[in-house]
């Protein structure tokens, strides 16, 4: 203990040296800079808008003028006349195939698109970040995954999918700045405006660890102290000692003494959990572990690092490694390479959902279709 105190003291000393001494604060200058920055954004916009408006108007006039002149001077040829029954869209696509520059986006649908075929009854706003891989931007129910609250977007911590295909997400906030997102760990379903938290009687909101579903399809929230279940209106305590999950694993509530023995025996995990911290915890310490076919224990987060996608006949096994790596026997592919992925989960439609980071700072909620994961001509990589 003495050694740790000495280390703590040395650590404090080094950290303080690294940041240097306190300096006087010119609060007036800082305030003026804030006000100037605020005004400068407003100032920049107005004149620019006027100038842009003028340029755009000139461009439109010139464009229409050019088209009128071209139309008046050029006789249509047979080839350019659409066949009877041919749609304007098809014609436009044909013209584009001749004149358009090569697609800089490699054919990705980079513009946000509303998709109503991914989750029943929900219009999801998506962007295609890789062929077959969509990032979810919003759900039309007040959950804009790119919006900042106040300076960071949703920090997605867990995902679970109930048998009806509802996508449940959890996020952690230090603070929130609107009524849709209360502070603290919160849980919501894509496409549903309600958000849920769980606060034990007389306690603080729990630190959320993960969301899982049991074999009956009930959503469970696991914190470092409790397991609670969603009863349709909110989270309530779940006092069962063991639960069989939808994946076939068992989730147990284990007391410290029992866990310490297990840890010494066969806990197969790289999680930062150790017998000492459990035994030193004065209150009842709940640690949720999976019973893996009776052979090995592993943590929930470790188990969330792999999942399978299936179309009923074929199966692709996927796991987190430099993004998401998937193998279906013949091929190995990598998706979202270099993206920090935190959890994978399979949906009833065979697709794979993942949470992680996003390069532009937004929250990363991704969906890879089963068709993509199981198609024969997948480009093998890695």
């Amino acid at each position: 203990m003495h050694d740790m105190e000495a280390f703590d003291s040395q650590l404090a000393s080094v950290v303080l040296r690294r940041v240097g001494p306190s300096q006087p604060v010119d609060d007036a200058a800082i305030f003026n800079a804030v006000i100037a920055a605020t005004r400068s954004r407003q100032w920049r916009f107005q004149p620019m808008f006027s100038a842009t408006r003028f340029v755009v108007a000139c461009a439109i006039v010139a464009l229409f003028g050019g088209l009128l002149l071209t139309g008046a001077l050029t006789q249509p040829t047979d080839e350019s006349v659409p066949a009877v029954g041919a749609s304007a869209t098809a014609e436009a696509e044909r013209s584009a195939s001749v004149t358009a520059e090569p697609e800089p986006t490699m054919g990705l649908d980079v513009e946000p698109t509303t998709r109503s075929d991914l989750v029943a009854g929900v219009d999801l706003i998506t962007e295609e970040v890789e062929p077959g891989v969509l990032r979810i931007i919003g759900d039309g129910a007040g959950h804009d995954l790119d919006e900042r609250h106040p300076s960071d977007p949703y920090d997605l911590t867990s995902i679970a999918i109930t048998p009806d295909g509802t996508i449940w997400l959890s996020a952690a906030y230090s603070f929130a700045d609107d009524d849709v997102n209360p502070p603290g760990p919160l849980v919501w379903a894509l496409g549903q405006p309600d958000v849920y938290t769980y606060t034990p009687e007389g306690g603080d909101p729990e630190r959320l660890q993960t969301l899982v579903t049991d074999e009956d399809g009930t959503l469970l929230m696991v914190s470092d102290k409790d397991i609670v279940r969603f009863d349709g209106t909110g989270f309530v305590p779940d006092d069962r000692v063991a639960r069989r999950l939808s994946t076939g694993h068992e989730l147990w509530t284990i007391d410290p003494a029992q866990l310490a023995g297990l840890l010494e025996e066969s806990l197969d995990t790289d999680e930062d959990m150790n017998a000492e911290s459990v035994m030193n915890e004065p209150r009842r310490f709940l640690v949720a572990v999976w019973l893996w076919n009776g052979d090995a224990w592993t943590t929930l987060s470790e188990a969330g690092r792999s999942a399978s996608a299936s179309d009923g006949t074929r199966v692709a096994h996927c796991w987190i490694e430099g993004g998401i790596r998937c193998e279906d026997g013949a091929q190995v592919s990598t998706y979202l390479e270099a993206t920090d992925i935190r959890q994978l989960v399979q949906a009833p439609d065979g697709s794979l959902w993942a949470i992680g980071d996003h390069a532009d700072g937004g929250a990363g909620l991704y969906r890879i279709s089963a068709e993509e994961l199981l198609r024969d001509d997948r480009a093998a990589s890695g």
Binding site: L11, R18, V19, G20, V34, D152, F175, D204
Partner: protein, 179 residues
């Protein structure tokens, strides 16, 4: 007399006044918190100029969003966490541009060997450079801003016990790495 009245002004009132656009109240909040925010940002970015940039950006956010802080006890942790988030953002931006992070050495003091721990401060310095920005933020909030576990919990959105455990694990990891 007016000064005495202002000093006796309840903190919640200061927060409310600043949120309503009162320049004097906001400047007082700046005066009380800027140094902690800048130094925490410096520990995350490892660069004093980036730390200043992050802190200035944090004040712009604070000016716009101060009204969302409902509890005065949350004000300082909130401000420092906004500065920390901005520091991480500017760091990510710089890394995307391919610029190499440079370790800071503000004072240039020689890094000595501590006979009690058996660890060289230079080695500890290097270990801190290798930490993730989130871990550097945690240490800076603890040792530089002086946050207790409740304030750390507010800043990180965790429970106080969860924050204590996270800090303890980080210390333990560093200790074992350097032993």
């Amino acid at each position: 007399m007016e000064a005495v009245t202002r000093l006796a002004e309840p903190r919640a009132s200061l927060l409310a006044s600043a949120a309503a656009g009162d320049e004097a109240a906001f400047r007082r909040i700046i005066a009380e918190n800027h140094d902690s925010m800048r130094r925490v940002a410096a520990h995350i970015t490892g660069d004093l100029a980036l730390a200043e940039e992050a802190t200035q950006a944090a004040w712009l956010i604070a000016w716009k969003k101060l009204g969302n802080v409902r509890d005065e006890a949350h004000l300082q942790p909130w401000l420092v966490s906004v500065a920390a988030n901005e520091a991480k953002r500017v760091l990510r931006k710089r890394r995307r541009r391919g610029e190499v992070e440079v370790a800071i050495d503000v004072t240039g003091e020689p890094s000595g060997f501590d006979p009690t721990t058996g660890i060289s401060s230079m080695d500890l310095d290097a270990a801190l450079d290798r930490l993730e920005p989130d871990d550097r933020a945690l240490l800076a909030m603890r040792y530089v801003a002086g946050f207790d576990s409740n304030e750390l919990a507010i800043a990180f959105g965790l429970s106080p016990s969860g924050t204590r455990k996270r800090l303890e694990r980080l210390r333990q990891r560093l200790r074992e790495e350097l032993s």
